[in-house]
């Protein structure tokens, strides 16, 4: 096991983080049909929350990771309440603006976040006192969390609530006539999305041991949109495949960041115009709702 190069282990860890993020976006874009550009907001909130709780209060990671997830979920609710009532265009704009706003706040609230200097020397994850030492341990940890994340997503989308999300996505007036409250179910989806992204953010913070306001930047949305849409939004495994492929591929081709972003842009444009269902379409679109007790 120790013969595996640290480089591949690193890619593995980042893949795990992106699997969580991809599912976060998938819950909104795929299952709820809402283009949320707020994932970086929840990602960053979770990262800062866990980092600060660990550094300032000395809490064990078993606690801070859960708190980070909770902070993500609460951020989803806080952002969702004003924004989900708006027109769909305004929703997209507001989610994007939220990330810009958080970047601004993080840069200027120096007392809390040390501003543009960022927070350094974030200790690795300590589970009940035991540290996660070395990339192999991290890989195992992220693999486990990825499984948890995918399982959580499955729990959500195969439940009555997941069904309601899909119903609201596909035919809102009919959903209303069936007694479903679209706003509540969308808020729930946003909170779930926030929880997943917040957890990913916390892992990121402890793994890289450094975060700064740039964490709220748009670049992860770039990658996530490609991963989720190409993988197949609204399917359980499509975004996972997308996350795996698009974390490994740019590394394998060792592209400069601008080239990678450029290619992502081109890829996104092509997918959106010509293949909006993503790869999942090729593998036969499964019942989009996943399993379901009523199947």
């Amino acid at each position: 096991m120790s013969a595996i190069s640290p480089y591949f282990l690193h890619i593995g860890v980042m893949t795990g983080i992106f699997v969580l993020l991809a599912q976060s976006l998938n819950v909104m874009l795929g299952y709820s049909g809402l283009l949320s550009l707020a994932t970086p907001a929840f990602f960053g909130m979770g990262a800062y929350a866990s980092a600060l709780l660990t550094l300032r209060l000395g809490w064990d990671s078993s606690l801070t990771l859960i708190c980070a997830s909770a902070v993500g979920a609460l951020s989803g609710l806080a952002l969702g309440v004003p924004s989900l009532r708006l027109s769909r265009h305004s929703f997209v704009i507001v989610t994007l603006s939220a990330t810009l706003l958080l970047q601004l706040v993080a840069s200027n609230w120096i007392g809390l976040t040390r501003g543009a200097l960022g927070i350094a020397d974030i200790p690795t994850v300590h589970l009940f006192g035991m540290p996660l030492a070395g990339k192999s341990a991290w890989l195992a940890f992220m693999a486990a969390l990825s499984v948890v994340g995918v399982a959580a997503t499955w729990l959500i989308v195969s439940s009555r609530l997941g069904r309601a999300m899909i119903a609201v996505r596909d035919n809102e007036p009919l959903a209303i006539a069936a007694g479903i409250d679209p706003l509540k179910i969308r808020l729930f989806a946003f909170a779930c999305s926030g929880a997943l992204a917040g957890l990913a953010g916390a892992c990121y913070a402890h793994y890289l041991s450094f975060i700064d306001p740039g964490i709220f930047g748009f670049s992860i949305s770039e990658s996530l949109l490609v991963m989720v849409i190409l993988g197949g939004a609204g399917t359980l495994w499509g975004p996972v495949a997308g996350a795996v492929i698009f974390t490994i591929l740019p590394e394998a081709l060792s592209m400069a960041p601008e080239v990678k972003s450029l290619l992502y842009g081109v890829l996104l444009l092509l997918i959106v115009l010509f293949m909006p269902q993503g790869m999942a379409r090729w593998f036969g679109r499964q019942v989009a709702a996943g399993a379901g007790t009523g199947k």
Partner: protein, 291 residues
């Protein structure tokens, strides 16, 4: 705090605000008529500014010539955008266009970064250093130019929308796309013209304002955000609303910056936008290509 200082804030705010308004009007036009949000709007501004830099500093074209050439070039780019993005997606869900224009913005930002590098650039303008003093208030030449361009452009746009047949077709499409088909209005043609006009207006703003700031590949993000804020405050799709909201934003920012400090300037746009969304989501004037 004396009156002349306040007047200075006002003067600065008005000129910047008119610039914001001009930059946002194109976005409002596209939204009002095509019902699409163009996320590449900021990059049109950015590419326009870089093109002007290239023409001026690299190719040695004087500002007065480079400016209109750049605007025409960006209008052509708007046409390209219409062909590649807006026309093929006429009947697709609106997220498609948002994602497509997002993709375009990513492409443009990174192309510019690769070609020009990340070092901030600067455009020299013949108006550099020119100032005019009136009653204790200092007016910078470039800012006056921005205000003039904005007012003339808006007047031109209003005249175009009101008096020409194409303009009427555009207003008709903003009201009811389906009805347009019935009266023989060519939607594809209107789409092309709207996209070109939107890009041209944005480019006009870029060319006038670019000499005042540093150019960097990311600048489109600030522009698009400010434009979104303006359009949301004024009412999505509302032309005069965009100008007035732009003015409001410019003046508010100027006072906030002057009285509270520069760090608060960018927060003003957010704050106004959030207030508007919470209290009156349709904006001050509501949606309509009202002229």
């Amino acid at each position: 705090m004396d009156v002349s200082m306040l007047l200075q804030f006002l003067a600065n705010g008005v000129s910047v605000g008119l610039g914001y308004g001009l930059a946002a009007v194109g976005l409002a036009l596209v939204f009002g008529i095509l019902e699409q949000v163009n996320f590449a709007h900021g990059e049109i501004y950015m590419v326009g500014a870089f093109t002007l830099w290239f023409l001026g500093q690299s190719a040695g074209v004087p500002y007065w010539l480079g400016y209109p050439v750049m605007v025409v070039a960006m209008a052509a780019f708007g046409l390209l955008l219409a062909e590649v993005v807006f026309l093929p997606t006429l009947h697709r869900p609106f997220e498609t266009v948002i994602l497509a224009t997002l993709a375009v913005s990513i492409i443009l930002q990174n192309l510019v970064r690769l070609v020009f590098g990340a070092t901030p650039l600067h455009i020299d303008s013949p108006l550099d250093g020119m100032t005019l003093e009136l009653g204790g208030v200092l007016f910078f030449g470039q800012r006056i130019f921005v205000s003039v361009v904005a007012i003339v452009a808006l007047a031109g746009l209003v005249a175009f929308l009101r008096r020409t047949e194409t303009g009427r077709a555009m207003r008709a499409m903003a009201q009811n796309k389906d009805a347009c088909l019935m009266v023989g209005i060519d939607i594809r043609r209107v789409t092309r013209i709207t996209a070109a006009a939107g890009a041209a207006l944005c480019a006009l703003a870029a060319g006038a304002m670019a000499p005042m700031f540093d150019l960097y590949p990311n600048m489109g993000t600030d522009v698009v955000f400010k434009s979104f804020a303006v359009v949301i405050i004024g009412g999505m799709g509302n032309i005069s609303g965009a100008m007035l909201a732009g003015l409001l934003l410019g003046v508010a920012e100027s006072f906030a910056s002057g009285m509270l400090g520069a760090t608060y300037r960018d927060g003003v746009g957010f704050t106004l936008m959030i207030i508007m969304l919470l209290l009156r989501p349709q904006g001050i004037f509501g949606k309509s290509v009202r002229v």
